[in-house]
Structure formats: C-alpha cells, structure tokens
Symmetry: C2
Subunit: 312 residues, 2 copies
Amino acid sequence: MVSFQEIIRSHHRIDKFIHRSKVLTNQSLDDLTGANLYFKCENFQKAGAFKIRGATNAVEQLSAKEIEKGVATASSGNHGAALAMAATRRGGKVTVVMPDNSSPKKVENVKRNGGEIIWCRPLQESREKVLNKFVQETGAAMIHPYNDERIIAGQGTVAMELLEDQPDLDVIITPLSGGGLLSGTLCAAKIMKPNIKVYGAEPEEADDAYRSFKAGIRLANKTTNTICDGLRAQIGVINFPIIQEMVDGIFTLSEQEIIDSMRMIWERLKIVVEPSSAIVLAAVMKNLRLFKNKNIGLILSGGNVDLDDLPW
Amino acid sequence: MVSFQEIIRSHHRIDKFIHRSKVLTNQSLDDLTGANLYFKCENFQKAGAFKIRGATNAVEQLSAKEIEKGVATASSGNHGAALAMAATRRGGKVTVVMPDNSSPKKVENVKRNGGEIIWCRPLQESREKVLNKFVQETGAAMIHPYNDERIIAGQGTVAMELLEDQPDLDVIITPLSGGGLLSGTLCAAKIMKPNIKVYGAEPEEADDAYRSFKAGIRLANKTTNTICDGLRAQIGVINFPIIQEMVDGIFTLSEQEIIDSMRMIWERLKIVVEPSSAIVLAAVMKNLRLFKNKNIGLILSGGNVDLDDLPW
C-alpha cells in the first residue's frame, strides 16, 4: 500500500517537471452517455503520457552515484520514453527493453528522449529475462514500469489533481494494464473521497487483471492481441493486492468497442488519444445504466499514436 | 470598421452560448520554432469552430419575426453548422447553400445541427446566385459567413479573449479566407494593443487576399484547389478595407507546408485541427527569422476534419 502522504510528497517532488494536465468536458458526449464526463488529459502530459509522473518520482529519488550507473526498464513505450526524459535530465544513461512488436511511434519516442533500446520478444518472461540480465551486468538501477511503490505514488498524483480540480466526482475510471495507474489512483482517491467508486478498464484480449480479480490470484494473459499497445502487461505483484482490496470493479472491452470510443474522442473532444486511453470511454458506453447521471472522471492516459496507422 | 465597443458588446451577447476556448502551449514546438507559441483552440469551440461566435452574434440580433421567416447562408461548412446551431436554438429554420465539393464531415455537421442544405457549384458566383434566389423567394434573413459587421464583431471576440488571457503577445496570426476572422481580430487586437503585429495566412492555391492586398483592389481566386476547405472563399467587400488598413502582412503557404504543420500539431499538441487551422503554424515555420523569440498567438480556427480522409 502507498500512503496518501507519500502521494502528496511525490507531487511536490515532481510538480516542477510535469504539466498539471487540463480537464476537458464535452456536452455532446455528456448527452450521449447521460452522465457528466471529466476527461483528465494526460495525453497532453510531458512525453505524451502519465508515465512521466512515476518515472520522475523514481528517478528523483536516486542518488548521483546510482544515476551514474545508469537506469534500465522494460516497457512497451510510454514508460520507456518517460524514464528516458526523467533520467537524461539528471545526466543518466537510460536503457529500455522493448518488445519487438512495439509501436514505431513509441520506439521513436524512446529514442528522441535519449533512451537506448534492447529488443525482446513480446512476452512477459522474455522482457524480464532480458532486463534482469542487463541489470546484473551493468549495475543499472531498475525502475519497473508499475511494480514499484515510487511509480505507484507518482501515478497516484493524476487522481489527486483530478479530485482537487473536480471534487464532486462520483466515479473514476482508469485504463488497466500492469496496474500502476489504477493502484495509484486507488491510494489517492479512496483517501481523498472514501465513498468514490474506482474502476479499471482492460481489453478483453489482455484480461489478466479481470480474471485475476475474479480468481483471487495473479494470472497471466492468455493473449495480448489488442490494439491497446499500452495495456499488454501482466498485473504486478505489488499492484494486485492494492487493486484487490479497493477496486470497485474491472470492465473488459472488445477491440471494436475501444476503436469506436477512440474515434468518438477524436471527433468530439478534438484531441488525439491512443487506444489504451479510449478504453475508459468504452467502459462508460457499455455500462450506461450504472453510470447514469454520475460525475465521472476518465483518465486519458496518453496520446502517442502512429498517425500513419489508425484503426479506421 | 467595427468598433472595439461593439466587440465587447458582442462578447456579452454571446458568452453564455459559447466556450471560452483554452490556450495551449507546447515546449517542443517552442524549441522547434525559437518562439513562444500560444494556440487559441477554437477547434474545441461549440460546433467545432470559431464560426459559432459570429453566427450567434448575428442571430441574437434578429427579431422574433425575422427568425420566423428563417435564416439562410452560403457556407463551405463551419459557418453553416454554426448558424444552424444558433438559429435552431431560437426556433428558426436554417438553410445553407453548400458547394457540392464540401467535406462530407461538414455536410454532416450542418445536418446534425438542424440545417437544410441546397447544393451549388463550388464557385463564388454560383454560391451567391443560389443564395440570393432563395432569400428573395422566402424572405429569409441572410447571414453572410464573413461580409457582415455582426459576424466580424463576433469573430473579433476570439482575439479579445486571447489578449485578455495572454496580454504579452507580440503577434497574432489567423487563417485567412473571406476575412471575417482576420478583420475581427484586427478590430480587437489593434485597439487592445496598438503595437501588436497581426498577420493573415492563406493557401497559395486560394491566394486572392494576398494578391488583392498587393494590388490594392479586390481580386478573385484563380484556383481554390486547396486541402483547406475552409479557406476557399473570396475576401469580402466589408472585410477587405479593414484588412488593407491594419494588417501587417499576408503569408501564403503551399499545400505541403500546411499538411506538415497539421501533422505537427496533431503529433505534438495532441489535438485534432483541420488543415485551415494548421496554416497558422505553417506561417511561423516558414518565417522563423521574423518570429524569433516573439510571443505569438495562433488562432486554431476549427477541428472538423474527416478521420477517414487524412492527408498523410
């Protein structure tokens, strides 16, 4: 568990390095859903995703000596780019283990922010094996994309800002992959507003968290064949019990539902979000009765998408 | 000429019906251009473009009797949709004369907001002939998209808000077509801040305003073969002298320059803008030396674009 005090401390630690992202509303989507939607736009965040929060929070706590040995992670993209941005600012070398089916846009993002890439196969074991080997050989500081309390505390600052700006929320929905964002959101939101409902949204094609939650034990993904390239990871060891204890539910969404919602966000909110973000609107669209007349915070996690490869 | 007092009155008249659109900044585009860019996001505006300002300002000044006879205009899309939204709210019937090469997205927008469409050929004379005939037959109130002081005053509220929010601007650049937005911007900005520079940006493929400005007389477009479907109109009779008197310059941009800038805005600002909006960034990119270290307000006029027909 990460304390709310630690989330506040993390916000003080990182706030000069991040944007306080805007919250957008949209009358036509409110009319369509029968709810009041508040979109927390982390697609406008530095390096294009919320990941800069956790990455900066972790990197800022490293000593100069640790930074000197370099920093390493495994990431499908956004955490890698964020870590590269956070660590190169402190003069550290950053190595990112990336699955070889990563979005070209995200590969470019890692490189642009100064990260070096080591390729792995798109499987959880491959990621971890390659990363562990590198860390053992170099002594680099490993900063896991989600299974790390510094990361969870950093990601919790999204919900903290959102509830500061919109205190009357009844519900928050976050995308769900490894669980960094959702567990951070729970640790912030359930303290700030104990009666708030918090949900995670996950692709049907990578539904390990949903099945794990039902089974009461961490399970692996059976497939990761989803357009949501940010939501293919397995739920983390530290994240899972936090989610188990506090989450109000996990929704799974089909690929078509996610694509339809992505298009709706682009067309109506006029903003660029990646599929992994759009899943939160899909969760509302699929559960209109549950959310009727509610004030709903939707965390749009990022906007790093390849404009040459759109899903419509 | 439209007085600044009239722009203030217009803002009071329309402000409950419009959004005060956000102003976005972006570090990477500032680094790239060597300037400080402030993007006034009228793509987030009601009906997806700044046009709702002028349309609402005109419609709110009609009597109940005039509204009863209906409202009509000729428009390539955004003004038509805006007028439909503004007039149907007052219970009026709206007819829009649209060129038969209008973007399908914009046709849909006009219909969705309750407008009825009469088609014309994509030529200035055809537009005007069809519209005049309709107005004579029905007695509908004609609200021209730009050649109307009520429209100019409404569009001037964009720059008014922008300068209220960012008083330290050195420059404002607007897209330029019929001249409603540019003339309104001039009437607001040059009073609020007499030493500010104001420029218009126009496609090379529809450069009537640039040639008119040089010649000192209103000229017609030779072609309107531009991706900027919002920038194909001819500069207006009322608009031209205002622009002649006060504008600091008119830039013309190639199709490729416009497309490159559009992509840059989507990728870096993470927002959806139409080509007609992106032209203002193209004007900065092409004139880096002129704009070095300047604080530049860029009016992003709209975000109504067909996601199935992107130019890359």
